[in-house]
């Protein structure tokens, strides 16, 4: 029996064998409860902190609110973490990095969009350099609206995520939050980047660039969002080129 890596049910071939052993199913239930308890109460957070919401996120990790009380600690590297909290505006220059950091996180992983910039781009959404919502780049599980959300709302968001994980482990599947409705908050005359009836001032190249960022990936909600395309290649070449620059004596 092959391991289905796409499955979200945490099944393992060993379970199949163990279930046939007498008395083990009771032990399995107990073990599963322990696993669930440990999974929901040790959500290590990778802060993808770019702007204003980062300050409020630090406040939530500081003395008054203290997300440590539900076992969430902040780690600065994606390889240790379960939850990525995107706090702040994501620009077109930063989005490939966010995508790369998201891919470095081990499964199972979850993403929280904190603040209206991460949710929809807020009033920067019509600006040429801003990604209109982080869910166009990586799949988002929990949305915490606000500009910025208060520190205790971050705690509430993490508790919502815990409830989702419990539901998922119980076999109910991962209930995802819908993106908050923001269409009514903006001027309808301002077309958002990637909109089919797009802003006529955008060139084709700019429009394609926003497409390549995965605008619309939110609808199918796949775990693996689309490849970023040319931008990621350019950035990778940039990093590789830094050593080449050195050899040229730059």
């Amino acid at each position: 029996m092959a391991v289905d890596e796409g499955s979200r049910n945490y099944e393992h071939p060993a379970y199949d064998y163990m279930e046939r052993m007498p008395g083990l199913s009771l032990a399995m239930t107990t073990v599963d409860k322990v696993l669930e308890w440990s999974a929901t109460n040790s959500l290590w957070i990778f802060p993808m902190a770019t702007s204003c919401c980062a300050i409020e996120f630090i406040s939530s990790a500081a003395a008054r609110v203290d997300i440590d009380q539900i076992g969430s600690v902040v780690r600065p590297t994606p390889r240790h973490c379960d939850v990525m909290i995107v706090a702040g505006t994501i620009t077109v220059k930063m989005a490939p990095r966010v995508k790369k950091l998201w891919e470095q996180m081990p499964e199972p992983k979850w993403c929280i969009a904190m603040g209206s910039c991460a949710i929809s781009g807020d009033f920067y959404r019509d600006i040429y350099s801003v990604v209109p919502g982080i869910d166009t780049v990586v799949p988002v599980d929990v949305y915490i609206p606000g500009c910025p959300p208060n520190a205790d709302q971050v705690l509430h968001g993490l508790e919502r995520l815990q409830a989702m994980i419990r539901s998922d482990r119980a076999g109910g599947g991962m209930p995802r939050e819908e993106r908050p409705e923001t269409a009514k908050m903006i001027n309808p005359e301002n077309r958002r980047v990637g909109d089919p009836e797009r802003d006529p001032s955008l060139t084709d190249a700019q429009h394609d660039a926003s497409r390549n960022l995965g605008v619309g990936a939110n609808s199918d909600r796949t775990r693996d969002a689309r490849p970023i395309g040319d931008i990621a290649e350019d950035e990778a070449a940039d990093v590789r080129g830094s050593v080449d620059d050195l050899e040229e004596g730059a």
Binding site: S59, T89, S129, P148, E247
Partner: protein
């Protein structure tokens, strides 16, 4: 030793620091060329938080721009609002009543304390790290910062991004009993700053900061430094005293100057500024007399207020230095929107010193120097 002196076969290494790094205060990337552990060359790459704010300002009316200015320097939004609103007032020729002037000064000084508290916490976090004990002081400074944010929340309803200023005055008058709470908070914070000073007894802290990141007075002037970075290099310059705005001409601002120019001097300047701000807040509370909080023109009439041409520059002293706002009025064609809005952020100039200061230091000094400059990337990239 300069990079040109190395032969091409030398064993140099390029190290990219950032844009995702816990000590870069946001998203900042710097490329370091290393000879072993020693930095030979440093090339900063800003722009990971470029939000096109100056372009956005050209689409909006004067009153709509205020909340956007909150988000530049998100550690000190109060002073940013004041900068843009003072520019509007100068452009539109509006008078600010005395009570609003004093209230703005109080808010600016409270914001300075909150901003420096946040800086102190994150600076020790940069130096010590979570496990090295840096997180202890961060927890303490955030405890005090929350007290000041509570004051702002009582006044405006927001923890930050207040939008409490408008052209010609303030939107929110102080609630009843606010002054008493402010005095109480100042009494609470003042002895605790003495407690923070115990960090100077730590030999490790002194070794990490003393003599590190020297900025000479010439270099500081050449790169356009302002605020605590300039004053730590021995240049006595403070816009609050030298070009008074708000109610700063009614109080005496004592400017603290250090001559060493290293990270420890910048620490000392900021801690002294916190004490000075507490003194100023107490003094200014006595000047807060009853009266109108907005000017003669009601706010609603300002929404569509059209400025004729003309250009203004207003510079104020934010916690990070001189924040300049250059504004060109829209005239008849642009309606209620400005023609051009240019921001002179103090953090950008503070960051521009890095390529000159970093060579010769160890890799671990990068976070110390970067932290002591107190840059906010929202301001740098705009």
């Amino acid at each position: 030793m300069d990079i040109e002196d190395y032969d091409p076969d030398a064993d140099l290494m390029a190290l990219n620091m950032g844009p995702q790094h816990p000590s870069t205060h946001g998203v900042f990337r710097i490329k370091l060329i290393l000879d072993g552990e020693r930095i030979v060359k440093a090339v900063p790459y800003p722009g990971y938080l470029h939000r096109g704010v100056e372009k956005l300002c050209e689409k909006l009316t004067y009153v709509q721009i205020t909340p956007i200015f909150d988000k530049h320097d998100y550690v000190a939004p109060m002073t940013n609002e004041q900068a843009i609103n003072m520019a509007f007032e100068k452009l539109l020729g509006l008078e600010v009543p005395q009570r609003a002037k004093v209230l703005r000064t109080i808010l600016a000084e409270l914001q300075r304390i909150a901003s420096h508290l946040l800086w102190l916490g994150t600076f020790t976090l940069d130096i010590g790290g979570t496990i090295g004990g840096g997180a202890s002081l961060m927890m303490y400074t955030f405890r005090e910062r929350e007290l000041i944010l509570d004051l702002f929340e009582a006044l405006t309803g927001c923890r930050f991004h207040y939008n409490t200023h408008c052209p010609g005055g303030n939107r929110h008058d102080v609630p009843e009993g606010w002054e008493t709470v402010v005095r109480h908070v100042m009494d609470t914070i003042e002895p605790r700053i003495d407690e923070y000073e115990a960090i100077c007894d730590s030999e490790i802290f002194l070794m990490r900061t003393e003599g590190v990141g020297l900025i000479s007075p010439d270099l500081a002037l050449e790169t356009g430094q302002s605020g605590p970075v300039l004053r730590a290099s021995g240049i006595d310059h403070d816009l609050r005293r030298d070009a008074p705005y708000h109610a700063y001409d009614q109080v005496q601002v004592r400017v603290h100057v250090e001559t060493a120019g290293d990270c420890l001097a910048r620490y000392k300047v900021r801690v002294a500024e916190m004490r000075e701000s507490i003194r100023l807040v107490r003094e200014l509370l006595g000047l807060l007399e009853p009266g109108p909080i907005v000017g003669s023109k009601p706010i609603k009439s300002l929404v569509q207020f059209k400025a004729s041409g003309g250009q203004v520059y207003v510079g104020i002293e934010t916690p990070r230095g001189e924040l300049g706002t250059y504004l060109v009025g829209g005239g008849d064609q642009r309606g209620a929107a400005p023609y051009r809005c240019k921001i002179r952020p103090p953090s950008l100039h503070a960051m521009s010193v890095l390529p000159y200061v970093l060579p010769g230091h160890q890799v671990s000094d990068v976070v110390t120097i970067l932290g002591s400059l107190d840059p906010i990337m929202g301001e740098v990239d705009r």
